[in-house]
Protein backbone atom coordinates (compact mmCIF):
# COMPACT_ATOMS: atom_id res chain seq x y z
CA UNK A 1 0.00 0.00 0.00
CA UNK A 2 1.32 3.44 -0.90
CA UNK A 3 2.40 5.44 2.12
CA UNK A 4 3.41 9.06 1.62
CA UNK A 5 5.07 9.44 4.99
CA UNK A 6 8.81 9.84 5.14
CA UNK A 7 10.67 6.80 6.32
CA UNK A 8 14.07 6.94 7.98
CA UNK A 9 15.50 4.13 5.85
CA UNK A 10 13.83 1.88 3.32
CA UNK A 11 12.74 -1.32 4.98
CA UNK A 12 13.10 -4.58 3.13
CA UNK A 13 10.05 -6.75 2.70
CA UNK A 14 10.30 -10.31 3.91
CA UNK A 15 9.41 -13.56 2.21
CA UNK A 16 6.66 -14.44 4.68
CA UNK A 17 4.22 -13.87 1.79
CA UNK A 18 6.33 -15.93 -0.60
CA UNK A 19 4.21 -17.51 -3.28
CA UNK A 20 6.34 -20.62 -2.99
CA UNK A 21 5.45 -20.92 0.68
CA UNK A 22 1.79 -20.00 0.13
CA UNK A 23 1.46 -22.50 -2.70
CA UNK A 24 2.14 -25.23 -0.11
CA UNK A 25 -0.61 -23.93 2.15
CA UNK A 26 -3.24 -26.44 3.36
CA UNK A 27 -5.85 -23.82 2.43
CA UNK A 28 -6.85 -24.53 -1.18
CA UNK A 29 -7.91 -20.90 -1.83
CA UNK A 30 -4.54 -19.54 -0.68
CA UNK A 31 -2.83 -22.22 -2.75
CA UNK A 32 -4.83 -21.40 -5.88
CA UNK A 33 -4.12 -17.66 -5.59
CA UNK A 34 -0.42 -18.29 -5.10
CA UNK A 35 -0.28 -20.50 -8.17
CA UNK A 36 -2.15 -17.89 -10.16
CA UNK A 37 0.38 -15.22 -9.15
CA UNK A 38 3.28 -17.53 -10.02
CA UNK A 39 1.75 -18.06 -13.43
CA UNK A 40 1.44 -14.29 -13.96
CA UNK A 41 5.12 -13.78 -13.17
CA UNK A 42 6.55 -16.76 -14.98
CA UNK A 43 4.51 -17.69 -18.00
CA UNK A 44 6.13 -15.21 -20.37
CA UNK A 45 9.73 -16.11 -19.51
CA UNK A 46 8.81 -19.80 -19.80
CA UNK A 47 7.03 -19.36 -23.14
CA UNK A 48 9.81 -17.25 -24.64
CA UNK A 49 12.47 -19.62 -23.33
CA UNK A 50 10.73 -22.53 -25.04
CA UNK A 51 10.54 -20.59 -28.28
CA UNK A 52 14.21 -19.51 -28.17
CA UNK A 53 16.03 -22.27 -26.36
CA UNK A 54 14.07 -25.22 -27.72
CA UNK A 55 12.99 -23.63 -31.01
CA UNK A 56 9.47 -24.70 -30.22
CA UNK A 57 6.78 -23.67 -32.66
CA UNK A 58 4.10 -21.27 -31.43
CA UNK A 59 1.70 -24.18 -30.91
CA UNK A 60 4.23 -26.43 -29.15
CA UNK A 61 5.46 -23.60 -26.93
CA UNK A 62 1.90 -22.76 -26.03
CA UNK A 63 1.08 -26.38 -25.22
CA UNK A 64 4.24 -26.89 -23.21
CA UNK A 65 3.64 -23.69 -21.24
CA UNK A 66 0.06 -24.79 -20.60
CA UNK A 67 1.24 -28.18 -19.49
CA UNK A 68 3.99 -26.75 -17.28
CA UNK A 69 1.57 -24.47 -15.43
CA UNK A 70 -1.28 -26.90 -15.00
CA UNK A 71 -2.13 -26.65 -11.31
CA UNK A 72 -1.31 -30.24 -10.44
CA UNK A 73 1.97 -30.17 -12.44
CA UNK A 74 3.31 -26.94 -10.99
CA UNK A 75 2.10 -27.96 -7.54
CA UNK A 76 4.09 -31.18 -7.81
CA UNK A 77 7.20 -29.24 -8.79
CA UNK A 78 6.82 -26.74 -5.97
CA UNK A 79 6.41 -29.53 -3.47
CA UNK A 80 9.76 -30.90 -4.61
CA UNK A 81 11.52 -27.53 -4.42
CA UNK A 82 14.24 -27.17 -1.79
CA UNK A 83 15.44 -23.56 -1.31
CA UNK A 84 18.78 -24.83 -0.03
CA UNK A 85 19.55 -26.43 -3.39
CA UNK A 86 18.94 -23.59 -5.86
CA UNK A 87 17.11 -20.39 -6.53
CA UNK A 88 13.48 -20.93 -7.39
CA UNK A 89 13.99 -19.37 -10.82
CA UNK A 90 16.85 -21.76 -11.59
CA UNK A 91 14.85 -24.71 -10.29
CA UNK A 92 11.93 -23.87 -12.56
CA UNK A 93 14.14 -23.54 -15.61
CA UNK A 94 15.79 -26.89 -14.90
CA UNK A 95 12.36 -28.51 -14.53
CA UNK A 96 11.30 -26.94 -17.78
CA UNK A 97 14.32 -28.34 -19.61
CA UNK A 98 13.60 -31.76 -18.18
CA UNK A 99 9.96 -31.49 -19.18
CA UNK A 100 10.84 -30.72 -22.77
CA UNK A 101 13.72 -33.13 -23.12
CA UNK A 102 12.34 -36.22 -21.45
CA UNK A 103 8.64 -36.31 -21.09
CA UNK A 104 6.12 -34.31 -22.88
CA UNK A 105 7.18 -33.80 -26.45
CA UNK A 106 5.33 -36.87 -27.52
CA UNK A 107 2.65 -36.85 -24.86
CA UNK A 108 1.67 -33.29 -25.67
CA UNK A 109 0.64 -34.20 -29.15
CA UNK A 110 -1.80 -36.65 -27.63
CA UNK A 111 -3.09 -34.09 -25.20
CA UNK A 112 -3.53 -31.40 -27.83
CA UNK A 113 -7.11 -31.25 -28.93
CA UNK A 114 -8.20 -33.22 -25.88
CA UNK A 115 -10.08 -31.77 -22.98
CA UNK A 116 -7.06 -31.13 -20.82
CA UNK A 117 -7.37 -28.35 -18.26
CA UNK A 118 -6.13 -24.97 -19.58
CA UNK A 119 -4.46 -22.03 -17.93
CA UNK A 120 -5.04 -18.70 -19.56
CA UNK A 121 -2.47 -16.29 -20.91
CA UNK A 122 -2.22 -13.87 -23.79
CA UNK A 123 -0.01 -15.45 -26.39
CA UNK A 124 -0.04 -12.41 -28.67
CA UNK A 125 1.76 -10.17 -26.18
CA UNK A 126 4.55 -12.72 -25.72
CA UNK A 127 4.97 -13.15 -29.47
CA UNK A 128 5.01 -9.39 -29.95
CA UNK A 129 7.73 -9.06 -27.31
CA UNK A 130 9.73 -11.81 -28.98
CA UNK A 131 9.59 -9.89 -32.24
CA UNK A 132 10.44 -6.58 -30.59
CA UNK A 133 13.28 -7.67 -28.33
CA UNK A 134 14.76 -10.31 -30.56
CA UNK A 135 16.00 -13.67 -29.48
CA UNK A 136 19.15 -12.51 -27.75
CA UNK A 137 21.77 -14.23 -29.90
CA UNK A 138 24.53 -12.91 -27.69
CA UNK A 139 23.10 -14.26 -24.41
CA UNK A 140 23.41 -17.77 -23.12
CA UNK A 141 20.10 -19.40 -22.31
CA UNK A 142 20.38 -18.98 -18.58
CA UNK A 143 21.01 -15.26 -19.05
CA UNK A 144 18.15 -15.08 -21.54
CA UNK A 145 15.71 -16.73 -19.14
CA UNK A 146 16.88 -14.40 -16.38
CA UNK A 147 16.46 -11.37 -18.63
CA UNK A 148 12.91 -12.35 -19.55
CA UNK A 149 12.13 -13.12 -15.93
CA UNK A 150 13.31 -9.59 -14.98
CA UNK A 151 11.19 -8.13 -17.81
CA UNK A 152 8.18 -10.02 -16.55
CA UNK A 153 8.78 -9.09 -12.90
CA UNK A 154 9.21 -5.41 -13.71
CA UNK A 155 6.21 -5.46 -16.04
CA UNK A 156 4.04 -6.93 -13.29
CA UNK A 157 5.45 -4.40 -10.81
CA UNK A 158 4.72 -1.46 -13.13
CA UNK A 159 1.11 -2.54 -13.51
CA UNK A 160 0.72 -3.11 -9.77
CA UNK A 161 2.23 0.30 -9.04
CA UNK A 162 -0.05 1.94 -11.61
CA UNK A 163 -3.10 0.40 -9.95
CA UNK A 164 -1.94 1.37 -6.44
CA UNK A 165 -1.11 4.93 -7.52
CA UNK A 166 -4.50 5.41 -9.16
CA UNK A 167 -6.27 4.04 -6.10
CA UNK A 168 -4.27 6.32 -3.79
CA UNK A 169 -4.87 9.48 -5.86
CA UNK A 170 -1.25 9.55 -7.02
CA UNK A 171 -1.94 9.27 -10.73
CA UNK A 172 0.23 12.30 -11.54
CA UNK A 173 3.21 10.81 -9.71
CA UNK A 174 2.83 7.63 -11.74
CA UNK A 175 2.36 9.58 -14.98
CA UNK A 176 5.60 11.52 -14.38
CA UNK A 177 7.42 8.28 -13.59
CA UNK A 178 5.98 6.72 -16.71
CA UNK A 179 7.02 9.63 -18.90
CA UNK A 180 10.52 10.05 -17.47
CA UNK A 181 11.63 6.57 -16.46
CA UNK A 182 9.60 4.26 -18.68
CA UNK A 183 8.78 6.04 -21.95
CA UNK A 184 11.49 8.65 -22.42
CA UNK A 185 14.36 6.39 -21.59
CA UNK A 186 16.36 5.62 -24.70
CA UNK A 187 14.59 8.39 -26.65
CA UNK A 188 16.83 10.60 -28.75
CA UNK A 189 15.64 13.79 -27.09
CA UNK A 190 16.36 13.60 -23.37
CA UNK A 191 13.38 14.76 -21.37
CA UNK A 192 14.24 17.30 -18.66
CA UNK A 193 12.56 18.01 -15.33
CA UNK A 194 11.66 21.43 -16.75
CA UNK A 195 9.89 19.75 -19.72
CA UNK A 196 7.87 17.64 -17.30
CA UNK A 197 7.06 20.63 -15.11
CA UNK A 198 5.72 22.45 -18.14
CA UNK A 199 3.77 19.46 -19.37
CA UNK A 200 2.12 18.83 -16.00
CA UNK A 201 1.79 22.49 -14.97
CA UNK A 202 3.76 22.12 -11.73
CA UNK A 203 7.03 23.63 -10.39
CA UNK A 204 10.24 21.82 -11.27
CA UNK A 205 10.89 21.11 -7.59
CA UNK A 206 7.58 19.23 -7.54
CA UNK A 207 8.80 17.02 -10.40
CA UNK A 208 11.81 16.07 -8.24
CA UNK A 209 9.48 15.24 -5.36
CA UNK A 210 7.05 13.23 -7.49
CA UNK A 211 9.82 11.29 -9.20
CA UNK A 212 11.52 10.52 -5.90
CA UNK A 213 8.19 9.31 -4.50
CA UNK A 214 7.40 7.21 -7.57
CA UNK A 215 10.84 5.61 -7.70
CA UNK A 216 10.69 4.78 -4.01
CA UNK A 217 7.27 3.22 -4.39
CA UNK A 218 8.23 1.37 -7.55
CA UNK A 219 11.24 -0.09 -5.80
CA UNK A 220 9.00 -1.15 -2.92
CA UNK A 221 6.58 -2.88 -5.29
CA UNK A 222 9.42 -4.64 -7.14
CA UNK A 223 10.89 -5.86 -3.88
CA UNK A 224 7.52 -7.06 -2.65
CA UNK A 225 6.93 -8.99 -5.86
CA UNK A 226 10.45 -10.35 -5.71
CA UNK A 227 9.96 -11.49 -2.12
CA UNK A 228 6.82 -13.31 -3.26
CA UNK A 229 8.74 -15.15 -5.96
CA UNK A 230 11.57 -16.33 -3.76
CA UNK A 231 11.57 -19.42 -1.63
CA UNK A 232 13.73 -18.16 1.23
CA UNK A 233 15.04 -14.97 2.82
CA UNK A 234 18.54 -15.78 1.63
CA UNK A 235 17.39 -16.23 -1.97
CA UNK A 236 15.42 -13.00 -1.79
CA UNK A 237 18.38 -11.03 -0.56
CA UNK A 238 20.68 -12.50 -3.19
CA UNK A 239 18.15 -11.73 -5.90
CA UNK A 240 17.71 -8.18 -4.57
CA UNK A 241 21.45 -7.65 -4.70
CA UNK A 242 21.73 -9.05 -8.23
CA UNK A 243 18.65 -7.33 -9.54
CA UNK A 244 18.73 -3.91 -7.95
CA UNK A 245 22.25 -3.63 -6.63
CA UNK A 246 20.94 -3.07 -3.14
CA UNK A 247 22.78 -4.67 -0.30
CA UNK A 248 20.46 -5.43 2.58
CA UNK A 249 21.90 -6.46 5.90
Amino acid sequence: MINDAARPRDAFPTTRHSLVIRSRSPDSTVRARALEALLAAYWKPVYKYLRVRWHASVDDAQDLTQSFFLPHSIQRLIDRYDPAQARFRTFLRTCLDRLVANELKAALRLKRGGDAQKVSFSLESAEEELQRHGTAQSLDMEAYFHREWVRSLFGVAVEAFRAEANAAGKAMQFAIFERYDLDAHGAHEKLTYADLAKAFGIPTSQVTNHLAFARREFRRVVLERLAELCGSEEEFREEARDLLGVDPR
Binding site: R132, V158, R219
Partner: protein, 343 residues
Protein backbone atom coordinates in the same frame (compact mmCIF):
# COMPACT_ATOMS: atom_id res chain seq x y z
CA UNK B 1 1.12 -1.44 -21.46
CA UNK B 2 3.68 -2.85 -23.86
CA UNK B 3 6.67 -4.77 -22.55
CA UNK B 4 9.58 -2.86 -21.12
CA UNK B 5 12.49 -2.48 -23.52
CA UNK B 6 15.99 -3.64 -22.62
CA UNK B 7 17.18 -0.05 -22.14
CA UNK B 8 14.22 0.74 -19.88
CA UNK B 9 14.94 -2.39 -17.85
CA UNK B 10 18.57 -1.36 -17.44
CA UNK B 11 17.48 2.12 -16.46
CA UNK B 12 14.99 0.84 -13.87
CA UNK B 13 17.60 -1.43 -12.36
CA UNK B 14 20.09 1.44 -12.27
CA UNK B 15 17.74 3.88 -10.53
CA UNK B 16 16.74 1.37 -7.87
CA UNK B 17 19.27 2.70 -5.40
CA UNK B 18 19.15 6.34 -6.47
CA UNK B 19 18.72 8.66 -3.53
CA UNK B 20 15.51 10.51 -2.75
CA UNK B 21 16.28 14.15 -3.56
CA UNK B 22 12.79 15.44 -2.83
CA UNK B 23 12.85 18.68 -0.87
CA UNK B 24 16.37 19.51 -2.05
CA UNK B 25 17.61 21.88 -4.74
CA UNK B 26 19.13 19.00 -6.73
CA UNK B 27 17.89 16.93 -9.64
CA UNK B 28 19.61 13.63 -10.17
CA UNK B 29 21.07 13.20 -13.66
CA UNK B 30 23.15 10.04 -13.63
CA UNK B 31 25.32 7.78 -11.59
CA UNK B 32 29.04 8.53 -11.87
CA UNK B 33 30.56 5.76 -9.79
CA UNK B 34 30.69 3.95 -6.50
CA UNK B 35 33.26 3.14 -3.87
CA UNK B 36 33.32 1.49 -0.50
CA UNK B 37 32.06 4.63 1.20
CA UNK B 38 29.18 5.61 -1.03
CA UNK B 39 27.93 6.33 -4.48
CA UNK B 40 28.62 9.48 -6.49
CA UNK B 41 25.88 10.92 -8.69
CA UNK B 42 25.86 13.69 -11.21
CA UNK B 43 23.15 16.17 -10.21
CA UNK B 44 21.85 19.53 -11.33
CA UNK B 45 21.63 22.35 -8.81
CA UNK B 46 18.46 24.26 -9.71
CA UNK B 47 19.29 27.29 -7.57
CA UNK B 48 22.75 27.95 -9.00
CA UNK B 49 22.01 26.37 -12.39
CA UNK B 50 25.10 24.22 -12.48
CA UNK B 51 26.08 20.57 -12.33
CA UNK B 52 27.44 19.19 -9.08
CA UNK B 53 28.55 15.80 -7.84
CA UNK B 54 26.62 14.27 -4.95
CA UNK B 55 28.22 11.65 -2.78
CA UNK B 56 25.58 9.63 -0.94
CA UNK B 57 25.73 6.70 1.45
CA UNK B 58 24.50 3.45 -0.02
CA UNK B 59 20.84 2.53 -0.07
CA UNK B 60 19.64 0.03 2.52
CA UNK B 61 22.97 0.24 4.25
CA UNK B 62 21.58 1.41 7.57
CA UNK B 63 25.16 1.60 8.80
CA UNK B 64 25.56 4.51 11.21
CA UNK B 65 29.35 4.42 10.91
CA UNK B 66 29.05 4.85 7.12
CA UNK B 67 26.93 7.97 7.73
CA UNK B 68 29.49 9.23 10.17
CA UNK B 69 32.41 8.58 7.82
CA UNK B 70 30.72 10.38 4.94
CA UNK B 71 29.95 13.42 7.08
CA UNK B 72 33.50 13.38 8.38
CA UNK B 73 34.79 13.30 4.84
CA UNK B 74 32.62 16.30 3.98
CA UNK B 75 33.90 18.21 6.99
CA UNK B 76 37.50 17.40 6.14
CA UNK B 77 37.00 18.61 2.58
CA UNK B 78 35.23 21.74 3.78
CA UNK B 79 38.10 22.65 6.07
CA UNK B 80 40.93 21.83 3.68
CA UNK B 81 40.60 24.79 1.34
CA UNK B 82 43.28 24.08 -1.23
CA UNK B 83 43.29 24.10 -5.06
CA UNK B 84 44.12 20.38 -4.95
CA UNK B 85 41.08 19.48 -2.87
CA UNK B 86 37.53 19.52 -4.22
CA UNK B 87 35.36 22.20 -2.61
CA UNK B 88 32.24 21.04 -0.78
CA UNK B 89 29.07 23.11 -1.24
CA UNK B 90 26.51 21.44 0.95
CA UNK B 91 25.88 18.44 3.20
CA UNK B 92 22.96 16.90 5.04
CA UNK B 93 20.52 14.05 5.32
CA UNK B 94 18.03 13.14 2.60
CA UNK B 95 14.39 12.25 3.05
CA UNK B 96 15.21 8.55 2.70
CA UNK B 97 17.62 8.83 5.62
CA UNK B 98 20.78 8.71 3.57
CA UNK B 99 23.63 11.15 4.23
CA UNK B 100 25.00 13.20 1.33
CA UNK B 101 27.31 16.01 0.45
CA UNK B 102 27.47 18.10 -2.70
CA UNK B 103 30.78 19.05 -4.24
CA UNK B 104 32.16 20.58 -7.38
CA UNK B 105 31.83 18.35 -10.39
CA UNK B 106 35.35 17.49 -11.55
CA UNK B 107 36.23 16.75 -15.11
CA UNK B 108 39.59 15.28 -15.96
CA UNK B 109 41.67 12.16 -16.28
CA UNK B 110 42.76 9.61 -13.76
CA UNK B 111 46.37 10.15 -12.72
CA UNK B 112 47.84 7.06 -14.41
CA UNK B 113 45.96 7.75 -17.64
CA UNK B 114 47.14 11.35 -17.67
CA UNK B 115 50.72 10.36 -16.83
CA UNK B 116 50.86 8.02 -19.82
CA UNK B 117 50.46 11.06 -22.06
CA UNK B 118 53.40 12.92 -20.53
CA UNK B 119 56.52 12.99 -22.63
CA UNK B 120 59.31 13.28 -20.09
CA UNK B 121 60.28 12.09 -16.63
CA UNK B 122 60.64 15.74 -15.60
CA UNK B 123 56.96 16.42 -16.44
CA UNK B 124 55.94 13.34 -14.47
CA UNK B 125 57.97 14.44 -11.47
CA UNK B 126 56.54 17.95 -11.55
CA UNK B 127 53.06 16.40 -11.54
CA UNK B 128 54.08 14.26 -8.57
CA UNK B 129 55.33 17.36 -6.73
CA UNK B 130 51.86 18.91 -7.06
CA UNK B 131 50.33 15.80 -5.48
CA UNK B 132 52.85 16.05 -2.64
CA UNK B 133 51.98 19.75 -2.13
CA UNK B 134 48.31 18.90 -1.57
CA UNK B 135 49.03 16.02 0.79
CA UNK B 136 51.56 18.11 2.72
CA UNK B 137 48.84 20.76 3.13
CA UNK B 138 46.47 18.14 4.57
CA UNK B 139 49.20 16.88 6.91
CA UNK B 140 49.77 20.43 8.11
CA UNK B 141 46.12 20.33 9.22
CA UNK B 142 46.56 16.99 10.96
CA UNK B 143 44.79 14.88 8.32
CA UNK B 144 46.22 11.65 6.85
CA UNK B 145 44.59 10.53 3.59
CA UNK B 146 45.29 6.76 3.96
CA UNK B 147 44.06 5.76 0.52
CA UNK B 148 46.29 7.42 -2.05
CA UNK B 149 46.28 5.58 -5.37
CA UNK B 150 45.91 6.54 -9.05
CA UNK B 151 42.11 6.17 -8.90
CA UNK B 152 41.99 8.82 -6.19
CA UNK B 153 44.03 11.43 -8.03
CA UNK B 154 42.50 13.30 -10.90
CA UNK B 155 44.21 15.71 -13.26
CA UNK B 156 42.05 18.47 -14.70
CA UNK B 157 42.15 19.86 -18.20
CA UNK B 158 44.66 22.55 -17.17
CA UNK B 159 46.96 20.06 -15.47
CA UNK B 160 45.61 20.84 -12.01
CA UNK B 161 45.84 17.96 -9.55
CA UNK B 162 42.86 17.00 -7.39
CA UNK B 163 43.03 14.47 -4.57
CA UNK B 164 39.74 12.57 -4.24
CA UNK B 165 38.10 10.21 -1.78
CA UNK B 166 38.97 11.32 1.71
CA UNK B 167 36.55 8.72 3.03
CA UNK B 168 39.12 6.82 5.06
CA UNK B 169 41.14 9.88 6.05
CA UNK B 170 41.74 10.30 9.74
CA UNK B 171 43.37 12.53 12.27
CA UNK B 172 47.07 11.97 12.75
CA UNK B 173 47.73 10.10 15.98
CA UNK B 174 47.96 12.51 18.90
CA UNK B 175 47.03 15.45 16.74
CA UNK B 176 44.29 18.04 17.05
CA UNK B 177 43.29 19.18 13.59
CA UNK B 178 44.06 22.83 13.07
CA UNK B 179 41.20 24.74 11.60
CA UNK B 180 41.10 27.59 9.19
CA UNK B 181 40.58 31.15 10.36
CA UNK B 182 40.22 30.24 14.01
CA UNK B 183 37.19 27.95 13.50
CA UNK B 184 36.75 25.15 16.05
CA UNK B 185 38.68 21.92 15.44
CA UNK B 186 37.17 19.24 13.23
CA UNK B 187 35.15 16.90 15.42
CA UNK B 188 36.88 13.86 14.00
CA UNK B 189 37.43 11.00 16.37
CA UNK B 190 40.20 8.51 15.58
CA UNK B 191 37.75 5.68 16.30
CA UNK B 192 35.43 6.80 13.48
CA UNK B 193 36.87 3.86 11.59
CA UNK B 194 36.64 0.76 13.70
CA UNK B 195 40.05 -0.41 14.89
CA UNK B 196 41.18 -3.61 13.31
CA UNK B 197 39.27 -2.94 10.12
CA UNK B 198 41.79 -2.55 7.32
CA UNK B 199 40.86 0.41 5.18
CA UNK B 200 43.07 1.24 2.24
CA UNK B 201 44.33 -0.40 -0.93
CA UNK B 202 46.85 -3.26 -1.04
CA UNK B 203 49.97 -2.23 -2.85
CA UNK B 204 49.61 1.38 -1.72
CA UNK B 205 48.94 0.70 1.93
CA UNK B 206 51.81 1.05 4.43
CA UNK B 207 52.60 -2.19 6.33
CA UNK B 208 51.50 -0.70 9.66
CA UNK B 209 48.18 0.30 8.05
CA UNK B 210 47.77 -3.18 6.54
CA UNK B 211 48.29 -4.63 10.01
CA UNK B 212 45.43 -2.47 11.29
CA UNK B 213 47.61 -0.44 13.66
CA UNK B 214 45.46 2.63 13.20
CA UNK B 215 46.59 4.31 16.40
CA UNK B 216 50.20 4.17 15.24
CA UNK B 217 49.58 5.83 11.89
CA UNK B 218 51.10 9.17 11.07
CA UNK B 219 51.94 11.06 7.88
CA UNK B 220 54.53 8.43 6.96
CA UNK B 221 51.68 6.12 5.94
CA UNK B 222 50.92 8.62 3.18
CA UNK B 223 54.65 8.88 2.40
CA UNK B 224 54.57 5.15 1.73
CA UNK B 225 51.54 5.46 -0.58
CA UNK B 226 53.21 8.35 -2.40
CA UNK B 227 56.30 6.17 -2.90
CA UNK B 228 54.10 3.49 -4.46
CA UNK B 229 52.39 6.12 -6.58
CA UNK B 230 55.73 7.51 -7.77
CA UNK B 231 56.88 4.05 -8.72
CA UNK B 232 53.71 3.45 -10.72
CA UNK B 233 54.12 6.82 -12.44
CA UNK B 234 57.71 6.10 -13.38
CA UNK B 235 57.30 2.51 -14.51
CA UNK B 236 53.65 2.28 -15.54
CA UNK B 237 53.67 -1.13 -13.85
CA UNK B 238 50.26 -2.36 -12.79
CA UNK B 239 49.68 -2.12 -9.04
CA UNK B 240 48.48 -5.77 -9.01
CA UNK B 241 52.08 -6.93 -9.14
CA UNK B 242 52.89 -4.92 -6.05
CA UNK B 243 49.74 -6.18 -4.35
CA UNK B 244 50.69 -9.79 -4.89
CA UNK B 245 54.19 -9.33 -3.56
CA UNK B 246 52.85 -7.37 -0.64
CA UNK B 247 50.57 -10.22 0.27
CA UNK B 248 52.98 -13.05 -0.25
CA UNK B 249 56.31 -11.72 0.92
CA UNK B 250 55.52 -8.78 3.11
CA UNK B 251 56.00 -5.13 2.44
CA UNK B 252 59.77 -5.33 2.36
CA UNK B 253 59.65 -6.91 -1.06
CA UNK B 254 57.73 -3.95 -2.48
CA UNK B 255 60.56 -1.62 -1.55
CA UNK B 256 63.25 -3.94 -2.86
CA UNK B 257 61.55 -5.01 -6.08
CA UNK B 258 63.78 -5.03 -9.11
CA UNK B 259 63.27 -2.37 -11.74
CA UNK B 260 62.38 -3.65 -15.16
CA UNK B 261 62.83 -0.27 -16.74
CA UNK B 262 65.77 2.12 -16.99
CA UNK B 263 64.84 4.47 -14.16
CA UNK B 264 67.58 6.77 -12.81
CA UNK B 265 69.16 5.30 -9.69
CA UNK B 266 68.49 8.38 -7.52
CA UNK B 267 64.76 8.05 -8.38
CA UNK B 268 64.88 4.37 -7.49
CA UNK B 269 66.44 5.35 -4.18
CA UNK B 270 63.71 7.92 -3.53
CA UNK B 271 61.05 5.26 -4.10
CA UNK B 272 62.88 2.77 -1.91
CA UNK B 273 63.17 5.24 0.94
CA UNK B 274 59.49 6.21 0.70
CA UNK B 275 58.52 2.54 0.56
CA UNK B 276 60.66 1.44 3.50
CA UNK B 277 58.76 -1.16 5.58
CA UNK B 278 59.60 0.61 8.82
CA UNK B 279 58.15 4.12 9.18
CA UNK B 280 61.38 5.34 10.82
CA UNK B 281 63.32 4.49 7.64
CA UNK B 282 61.01 6.55 5.40
CA UNK B 283 61.00 10.26 4.75
CA UNK B 284 59.70 11.86 7.92
CA UNK B 285 57.41 14.16 5.98
CA UNK B 286 55.94 14.53 2.51
CA UNK B 287 57.84 17.81 2.22
CA UNK B 288 61.13 15.90 2.60
CA UNK B 289 60.08 13.47 -0.12
CA UNK B 290 59.05 16.32 -2.39
CA UNK B 291 62.32 18.16 -1.72
CA UNK B 292 64.32 15.10 -2.74
CA UNK B 293 62.34 14.90 -6.00
CA UNK B 294 63.01 18.62 -6.55
CA UNK B 295 66.70 18.01 -5.95
CA UNK B 296 66.71 15.34 -8.63
CA UNK B 297 64.99 17.72 -11.04
CA UNK B 298 67.58 20.43 -10.40
CA UNK B 299 70.47 17.93 -10.67
CA UNK B 300 71.35 18.40 -7.01
CA UNK B 301 72.35 15.56 -4.74
CA UNK B 302 69.42 13.39 -3.71
CA UNK B 303 69.42 12.73 0.01
CA UNK B 304 68.20 9.16 -0.31
CA UNK B 305 70.96 8.13 -2.68
CA UNK B 306 74.64 7.52 -1.88
CA UNK B 307 76.13 8.41 -5.25
CA UNK B 308 79.38 7.14 -6.74
CA UNK B 309 82.17 9.43 -7.95
CA UNK B 310 81.10 8.82 -11.53
CA UNK B 311 77.49 9.65 -10.75
CA UNK B 312 78.62 12.80 -8.97
CA UNK B 313 80.63 13.81 -12.01
CA UNK B 314 77.70 13.08 -14.32
CA UNK B 315 75.33 15.05 -12.12
CA UNK B 316 77.85 17.92 -11.96
CA UNK B 317 78.08 17.86 -15.73
CA UNK B 318 74.30 17.87 -16.12
CA UNK B 319 73.78 20.63 -13.60
CA UNK B 320 76.47 22.90 -15.03
CA UNK B 321 76.00 21.94 -18.64
CA UNK B 322 75.87 25.55 -19.88
CA UNK B 323 78.83 26.74 -17.84
CA UNK B 324 80.87 23.72 -18.89
CA UNK B 325 79.97 24.33 -22.53
CA UNK B 326 81.00 27.99 -22.23
CA UNK B 327 84.29 27.12 -20.54
CA UNK B 328 84.96 24.44 -23.14
CA UNK B 329 84.21 26.89 -25.95
CA UNK B 330 86.46 29.48 -24.32
CA UNK B 331 89.29 27.00 -23.94
CA UNK B 332 88.90 25.87 -27.54
CA UNK B 333 89.03 29.44 -28.67
CA UNK B 334 92.18 30.07 -26.64
CA UNK B 335 93.81 26.98 -28.11
CA UNK B 336 92.83 28.08 -31.60
CA UNK B 337 94.21 31.56 -31.00
CA UNK B 338 97.46 30.13 -29.69
CA UNK B 339 97.83 27.88 -32.69
CA UNK B 340 96.96 30.59 -35.22
CA UNK B 341 99.12 33.11 -33.31
CA UNK B 342 102.18 30.92 -33.76
CA UNK B 343 101.64 30.69 -37.46
Amino acid sequence: MSALSDSTLDHLRRIADWPDLSGTRYEIVDRLGAGGMGTVYLAYDRELEREVALKVTKAFDGDASADSRLLTEARILARLEHPGIIPVHDAGRLRDGRVFYAMKRVRGSRLDEYARRLESVAETLRLFERICDTIAFAHAHGIIHRDLKPENVMVGSFGEVLILDWGVARLRAGSAARSMQGAPPISLRPEVTADGVVLGTPGYMAPEQARGEHDQLDQRADVYALGALLRVLLTGEAPEAAQTEHRENGAASVASRSWNQPIARPLQAICRKALAPEPRDRYATVAELSTDVARFLSHSRVQAHAETALERAQRFASKHRTAIALVAAYLLMRVALLLFGRH
